[in-house]
């Protein structure tokens, strides 16, 4: 066990997998000598050499296509996006090459696409986005979003060993703002199993990624107010742990869905739709969602805070549901 940050957990998972499996290589911008924009691959060039730590020109579509191809002939590339916002430049290769290759030809493509998502650090419209819904809507991709250091490590190891393309979305606010005890040895967090962050019987708050922290904080406040709240952390959207979330809702009869991406057509809608179809009988109240407002992520802190979901917004919705 070591007390490490979310960021260090990602580095250690990457390093261990590269030590274990010579077919794993990493590719991206400034990841070599510089160690990456967030320093996740610091020291990797020295340890693994330029053949496994591949610096690229600024060409997301180009190096994504190249990594996908290498993955079909035995490599397990891990692609770093300097900021996830730039994944939009490579969308075609991801949704049309990576997502469809195995379905069309039966040829496996074990490739991981990872990068920093999310706001809260005043980085403005182009360095704060949360694109998970695009990928969750694309058949053939797995979508993973760790909310803790332990999961960041366990899920990244599982993603690298997965035989399919995995979109691994990191929350950049958590990089250095969250730390916890993480086993030193290798371990796996299976993709597709939700975690309960609190256990409760009056209300289910279903979330994933960075927003889980807001939900846990809100749950504590509500506990003090006498409510028993269960926070379900999905950990991955594809595959989705339907059982866990439906089981929780069937128990509590009240569902609140929270994510950092903007509300409309966000993945929270899919969760609400599942509940409205498959747990309808159990519901005692409307299914509610708290998410970012439907605007680009603004730079100025008061605007950004107004735009993002918050503990207060979650509390307001939760109290409504509990009072319903």
């Amino acid at each position: 066990m070591a007390n490490i940050t979310y960021l260090q957990a990602i580095s250690s998972a990457l390093r261990e997998e590269m030590r274990r499996d010579p077919d794993v290589f990493i590719i991206g911008e400034d990841i070599g000598m510089f160690g990456g924009a967030f320093k996740i691959t610091q020291g990797f060039l020295e340890e693994f050499g330029p053949e496994r730590v591949i610096d690229t020109p600024i060409s997301e579509s180009g190096f994504v296509g190249a990594a996908c191809a290498a993955a079909t002939v035995g490599f397990r590339p891990v692609v770093e996006f300097q900021f996830i916002d730039f994944i939009a430049c490579a969308l075609d290769q991801i949704v049309n090459y990576a997502a469809k290759c195995y379905y069309r030809w039966g040829i496996q493509m074990p490739v991981v696409f990872r990068g920093p998502t999310g706001g809260g650090i005043h980085a403005g419209p182009y360095h704060s986005q949360n694109p998970e819904a695009w990928f969750a809507h694309t058949p053939g991709l797995k979508v993973v979003l760790p909310s803790t250091a332990k999961d960041a490590k366990g899920l990244l190891i599982a993603s690298i060993r997965d035989n399919n393309p995995v979109i691994y979305l990191e929350n950049k606010f958590l990089y250095r703002h969250y730390r916890e005890e993480v086993p030193d040895e290798e371990f796996i967090t299976p993709i597709g199993v939700a975690a309960l962050r609190t256990i409760g019987s009056d209300l289910s708050i279903i979330s994933y990624g960075g927003a889980v922290h807001l939900c846990v904080e809100a749950a504590r406040v509500l506990e003090r107010e006498g409510a028993s709240v269960e926070v379900v952390d999905l950990r991955s959207l594809a595959p989705l742990d339907k059982e866990a979330l439906l089981e929780s809702v069937k128990k509590t009869s009240r569902a609140l869905i929270v994510h950092e991406a903007n509300l409309t057509a966000g993945f929270g809608a899919e969760i609400a739709a599942l509940i409205a179809e498959e747990a309808f009988e159990y519901l005692d109240a409307p299914v509610m969602r708290v998410a970012a407002l439907d605007v680009p992520v603004p730079f100025s802190p008061p605007l950004e805070m107004a735009m993002l979901p918050s503990v207060d917004k979650i509390l307001a919705a939760a109290r409504k549901l509990l009072a319903y």
């Binding site: 090459y97 606010f173 703002h177 299976p190 922290h213 059982e243």
Partner: protein, 382 residues
Amino acid sequence: MAQTSPHITLPDYPNEIQADPRALHYTEEELLKMYSAMRLARVFEEKLAALYRQGKIFGAVYLGMGHEATSVGCASLLQKGDLFSTVARNLSAWFYRGVKPEHVMARWFGKNQEPSRGRELGLFLADMENYGIAPYHNGSMASWIPAGAGYALAFKLRKQPNIFLAFTGDGATSPGDFYEGLNFASIHKLPLVVICEVNQFAYSTPPEKQMPVRNVADRAPAFNIYAETAFGNDLFTVIEAARRGIEHARGGNGPALIEFKTFRQRGHGEHDDCSYVPAELRKFWEERDPIAMYRRWLVERAKVNRGMLARIDEVAARQVEAAVEYAQSLPYPKPESVTERLFAASPHDTKPEDRTNIYEPIEHPAIPSLMAAQDRSSGEHF
């Protein structure tokens, strides 16, 4: 807006293959293998056109008639372990590599034929094990150039003496992927050979509206790579130019871009009436049909016995008929199969045990605040 296409000036390509048979070191068998693949593709595509008009096959049909010399010439140079990717007009390259016409026909009919099981058009194929044909994303033009760079990267990382050969069209030189892929391949000196078949059109668009340069090879300085432009309907001219490019790449000198001028004899697809194709252009190129040129050369210069060629033609015709029968006899994929094979099994796929204890509390949640970004305590954030 765009400069309107200038009164077309035709190149001075001969209508006869130039090579001296005595200077070439091919056995008759090798020469006929190339002829057979070209011929089979031609007959196969004529049949596809007919089936399309009769409404016997589904969707749109795109044909490669006129590309047989570029396709077979380049395919003939591939060595063990090399990989390649084809675009819509390289059927003859598949046949040269041993792809079975009946399997291709079955795919066109949407039948349950591996590896696509009816999911993909007959136009596309990926089968690295049997034929060295690599998968890429067959939708967006030039998507295969980054993929080609990736296969070439894999060879280099494994220190294999192989090259990746990517066929591409003239229109497919405009997307950013063409640039990003070749740029990456050149920086890393990867063994990627791009074969650009300039067949005078990208759908209806002529090269002068597609690119500001006269030849695709004029783009080479931007990548600092080896490039050539050659006549694509003379089989041996193709082979010589492609060989130079392949040797350059195999020698560890980085990518090569070999451009062949040729002609798309049919429409973009069989639905296309080609009203935009100037008659003189069509006439010029039809007098230079790659198969006719090769056949004449085989008979007149290489002294191959006509009967032998006639037999090959017959065999091709029969193979195509047999292919249609095979295709029609094959079942469609079962509707239920549509959801199969979307994800590959993985070592850590979820098992029931994984759900035994999923309570994993978060002790100290991290909450963004107005001032979060100012917290420099733990070093720069980006």
